[in-house]
């Protein structure tokens, strides 16, 4: 038996043992959903490198760890960053922490609101093994509705992993829905204690209605022994906008997978991100942008900085369906290698079935520009600061799309924190 199957077997074993006790275990539609997910996960297993979409990210190491559920009391207050927004949903080891949270109207933990999500939970799920794993084992998550016409301002979503002394896994499921013309900025941070070994496997199902705007800023700073496999599944209707910025700056192995479908005319999507990868880390950003309606613009800019012995992956596919005439799609991914031991694998991809389109992608890989470095040093700036300036400049293009001041603040903190720790 190979490790891939072992990895799957351990999760399937947990499911068999827990199925009755998982939230909704006795609710027929939930039980059915979970059973189907288990079947799909059993059939697919943890994806191996022979699967095209997982060619560059090897889950072998994860498969060898046997994960169990957390036994944490969710309200054990870990050291959380200061509150930035008016509302906050905090999850500790995947479970909602009411005492640490302040939910806005229209929000509830999934563990409480589950019964009411029939037809909604799983609606956007595709037959992806990691999503199936989540559906099989989810315990909690955020259910958030922003009613039509409401500007909900900013809200924080925070996940914190504690050091349990053994490997734990949690699979939060977040359901976010914006009604017509609604607005929300969601600052979504993942943190974990340094020594904690855990798997954080969140799945987001996001529906953005006509003319609504969701700005989703994800700051991934998992602990250095933590794993994150996240999947964002978003649909955007006519004139709506979904913006996703993801900073990948923590964890041992992280995969940030984003699927966005532009389903109505003039729906828009901006996906940007920065990956800061240091010694011993593996960071993967995989995007899939589905242009299914005409006149939709999409923009993607991803930057990866690699230090030490590390590996970065960017895969980005733009699909333009036959109906999606006058699509305007652009994608750029760039990698900066600061070390001889770093590795970058990139696979941008265009799949186009409509003729009246403007689509392009670009990719560059390189080291710091020696001429630029010399110019800065010739002006008296020490090499270490000069490098930091050039790295910051390299990231600018990806980061400047984040305009919300709270989000900017959170982001610049995370980036300077990384640089101070990992600077070379």
């Amino acid at each position: 038996m190979n490790t891939m199957v072992t990895g799957a077997a351990s999760f399937l074993g947990r499911f068999e043992g827990l199925r009755e006790r998982l939230p909704g275990g006795r609710t027929p539609w939930v039980a059915k959903l979970r059973a189907e997910a288990a079947e799909s996960f059993r059939a697919q297993g943890l994806p191996g490198r022979r699967i095209e979409a997982w060619h560059y990210t090897d889950l072998g190491v994860l498969a060898q760890l046997g994960f169990t559920e957390a036994l944490t009391l969710a309200d054990e207050a870990p050291a959380l960053p200061p509150t930035r927004a008016a509302h906050r949903a905090v999850f500790v080891d995947g479970r909602f922490a009411p005492a640490l949270s302040l939910l806005p109207p229209g929000a509830a933990p999934l563990s409480e609101a589950l019964e009411a999500t029939e037809g909604r939970l799983g609606a956007l799920a595709q037959n992806l093994p990691i999503v199936a794993l989540n559906t099989m084992l989810f315990e909690d998550g955020l259910v958030l509705d922003v009613p039509a016409g409401v500007d909900a301002g900013e809200m924080e979503l925070l996940s914190f992993a504690t050091h349990a002394g053994r490997a734990i896994a949690f699979h939060p499921r977040h359901l976010i829905r914006l009604g017509e013309g609604a607005k929300l900025t969601l600052i979504d941070t993942s943190l974990g204690e340094a020594e904690a070994t855990y798997l954080h496997n969140p799945v987001y199902e996001i529906a953005v209605a006509e003319g609504a705007t969701l700005s989703h800023i994800r700051i991934q700073r998992e602990g250095r022994a933590g794993f994150q496999l996240s999947t964002v599944l978003a649909t955007v209707q006519a004139g709506g906008t979904y913006d996703n910025f993801t900073l990948n700056a923590g964890g041992r192995l992280v995969r940030n997978e984003i699927h966005v479908a532009l389903q109505g005319p003039k729906a828009a999507c901006h996906m940007n991100g920065a990956q800061l990868v240091a010694e011993g880390q593996h960071a993967d950003t995989t995007t899939f942008l589905d242009h299914a309606a005409p006149d939709c613009p999409s923009r993607q800019t991803y930057k990866t900085v690699l230090a030490g012995r590390s590996r970065g992956v960017f895969q980005g596919k733009i699909l333009v369906r036959q109906a999606a005439q006058r699509t305007d799609g652009y994608q750029m991914n760039q990698a900066l290698l600061l070390s001889d031991d770093a590795e970058i694998n990139a696979k941008p991809q265009l799949e186009i079935y409509a003729d009246d389109v403007k689509c392009s992608h670009g990719a560059t890989v390189g080291a710091l520009d020696e001429a630029q470095l010399f110019y800065l040093r010739a002006r008296g700036i020490p090499a270490s600061i000069a490098r930091a300036m050039l790295v910051e400049a390299f990231l600018t293009e990806a980061i400047e799309g984040v305009t919300n001041p709270l989000a900017q603040e959170a982001l610049s903190e995370a980036i300077s924190g990384w640089w101070q720790k990992e600077a070379v």
Partner: protein
């Protein structure tokens, strides 16, 4: 007159349009029994009077092939090819091996003349040495004598097995090993002929070398094997053209081309592939599954692939360069057109191993009708390839709203000092461009032809002069009926 030019004239005079090389040559053929098994492999080897080592080599490949699965990762779909329902050996029946062109069946010579490949040297004006492969066997190699004076060997590979066994043994399979992939493995077991070129140290080949491939017989596969070795400081330019008659069945073409360039050697390999593409409904056509790879073994060596792919029902080919020598250079220039129901999945691999190696990839894909066109390429930089550089430009042009254009580049870099740049765009012919041309008196098709040629310019300029003009015309013909 070059092959393509002749073709174009034939085509333009043809009433029904469509494929222009669709005639069949009535000639007495000798076939091996249908199907594939060890005996067929032995039969082929025996027919060619091959030495024992080559038979063993073939049998080893055949054993490997039996254990392999047909790859399914390319963006092409086709009904499973029945490997037992094809002939693996077909040769014009000729009691004696022709020693000169005078002994070649006149019908065969006429076929090549029809294709625009005059094998009789006295008829040739442009000074291109030609090796013509008819179904499975090489029928004639011209200009042999003149090349021989320079020490250049240019002959069919079957002949080389007998005349230069040490060279064939040394290099055959050294770039594309038998088990490399499904189709190359099949080829290794059953290849019937192909060209062999050896350019000695320091020699600049005085003329373009050319091979012309033609599949004539029904239900045959063509499995040719080409091997080009360029010794230190040598230089060669090689042209390859392909046609096949019009048939309802799909025919298999699984060729292998291996190039070896030593220190400071340059090999330029140009292809105009115009196999029968099938009819407008996708019936018939050649399955073109080709493995082409060059090894830049020596320092400062250079291998340059240029291809114009207009034919075949399915194209599956990735001419690649292994850049082993320091400062070696790999280039890939490609135009691929898919019209009607054609599918192409083509691109390149540039594997940077030596220091300061450089590669350039320029790919132009044109999709029309229901055609599906995929660029698939890999740029791989090994940790020791310091200072490696790659530039890739992939552009796709869509004509009509029933076709597809896809770009799948893979970048794998493990060297901090490498610099890689990749750009890809997709667009269509702008209405205002068309209108502008038409306002100047061009009709719709001429306008499209003009714009498409402009789109392909960067690639076409890499073709040797003799080919470039004709390739341009071929592009326009391939797109006939795609507009308006």
């Amino acid at each position: 007159m070059p092959a393509v030019a002749e073709t174009i004239e034939t085509v333009q005079s043809a009433q029904e349009g469509g494929y222009k090389f669709g005639f069949e040559t009535k000639i007495e053929m000798e076939f091996a029994p249908k199907g594939l098994n060890e005996d067929i492999v032995r039969f082929i080897s025996a027919k060619k009077g091959e030495p024992e080592w080559l038979l063993e080599w073939r049998l080893k490949a055949y054993a490997m092939w039996l254990k392999m699965e047909e790859p399914d990762w390319a963006a092409v779909s086709y009904p499973k090819f029945d490997y037992q329902d094809a002939y693996y050996y077909a040769a014009p029946k000729n009691k004696v091996v022709p020693k000169s062109l005078d002994e070649v069946d006149p019908e065969l010579l006429r076929t090549y003349e029809k294709l625009g490949i005059p094998l009789r040297e006295q008829e040739r004006l442009q000074g291109i040495a030609v090796d013509a492969v008819f179904d499975s066997v090489s029928v004639a190699t011209s200009y042999k004598e003149r090349l021989g004076k320079e020490g250049i060997i240019f002959c069919s590979i079957s002949e080389a097995v007998h005349t230069h066994p040490e060279l064939v043994k040394q290099y055959l399979g050294s770039v594309v090993p038998q088990g490399d992939n499904y189709f190359a493995c099949l080829n290794s077991a059953v290849f019937t002929d192909g060209s062999f070129v050896y350019i000695p140290k320091g020699v600049r080949c005085p003329m373009e070398l050319s091979t012309y491939f033609r599949i004539n017989a029904q239900n045959t596969g063509q499995f040719e094997r080409t091997l080009i070795v360029a010794e230190a400081g040598s230089h060669v330019s090689y042209l390859e053209g392909c046609t096949a008659p019009q048939r309802d069945e799909n025919q298999m073409h699984a060729a292998v081309v291996e190039l070896v360039a030593m220190d400071d050697a340059t090999i330029k390999y140009s292809t105009v592939q115009n196999w029968y593409p099938g009819d407008a409904e996708g019936k018939g056509g050649i399955y073109n599954f080709v493995t082409k790879r060059g090894a830049c073994r020596g320092a400062r060596s250079k291998i340059s692939w240029t291809q114009v792919e207009t034919g075949s029902a399915i194209t599956w080919k990735y001419p690649s360069c292994i850049l082993q020598g320091d400062d070696s250079v790999g280039e890939f220039y490609s135009v691929a057109i898919t019209n009607n129901r054609q599918q192409a999945d083509t691109g390149t691999k540039m594997w940077h191993i030596g220091k300061n190696t450089r590669s350039t990839i320029v790919s132009k894909g044109i999709s029309a009708g229901h055609g599906q066109n995929t660029y698939r390429g890999l740029v791989k930089i090994s940790p020791k390839a310091t200072g490696a550089r790659n530039f890739t430009q992939c552009d796709s042009l869509l004509i009509g709203d029933q076709c597809g254009a896809h770009t799948v580049p893979y970048i794998e870099n493990r060297c901090a000092s490498a610099k890689i740049e990749h750009e890809a765009t997709t667009s269509r012919i702008a209405e205002d461009q068309l209108f502008y041309c038409r306002a100047r008196g061009l009709n719709q098709e001429e306008a499209v032809g003009l714009i498409v040629n402009g789109f392909c310019r960067e690639v076409l300029k890499e073709l040797p002069m003799e080919f470039a003009v004709e390739a341009q015309k071929l592009l326009a013909i391939s797109l006939e009926g795609s507009v308006g």
